[in-house]
């Protein structure tokens, strides 16, 4: 099981800030393909992948990164701090 977190407009489009997902996905991209199929909101949230960022166990990563051993995956738009 992986804990999947969503922030900002991804959270709004999907309608939840976190969900536990049973998955055998090998990479982030594989997981995204599974999540997109969950609902129309998920599909909308993941539609434009160039505007998405991902963190694995709270470290920035990319969509090709492997998920082996990862407990928490977070998806969010580019950050706007400061």
């Amino acid at each position: 099981m992986i804990e999947v977190l969503y922030f900002a407009w991804l959270r709004e489009r999907i309608g939840t800030n976190r969900e536990r997902v049973a998955t055998e996905a090998a990479t982030v991209a594989d997981l995204v393909a599974e999540l997109e199929a969950r609902s129309d909101g998920h599909a909308l949230a993941f539609a434009d992948k160039t505007s998405l960022r991902v963190a694995l166990d709270q470290e920035l990563a990319n969509f090709a990164a492997p998920l082996a051993g990862v407990r928490e995956v977070a998806f969010f738009p580019p950050m706007t701090g400061g």
Partner: protein
Amino acid sequence: MRLSVQEAAFDLGQEANRFSNDIKGAGAIVTFTGVVRDNGGQLTAMEIEHYPGMTEKAISEIMEEAVARWDLADALVIHRYGVLRAGEPIMMVATAAPHRGDAFAAAEFLMDYLKSRAPFWKKEISAAGADWVAAQESDEAALTRW
């Protein structure tokens, strides 16, 4: 070094005084404060969301890198989340160093990295509705100079 990720407002003067009082032997202190713009009177509020846990981790790493790269006596980062009104301080960075060059450079470095590497997202709320603030390409480009 001190990092505070907080919902509560802070007083710029008090924080700057506290920071400078704690410094021994620094010849230069630089402070930067980010304030909520009112967008020509249109903005009702700004909501700042963050990723608890990763926020502290990401900012700590950025601060450690600043201390490793420049000759700093101390550094401070305060960043707020939650609902903020126009004119309220959002965040502040302070650096202290023997000389001003290091203090200015480290403060700019911290700001550039906070903007696009610390997991905060801003939403502007006005009478017309609510919009997530889009990241600027210039913010990402700013990182290449370091």
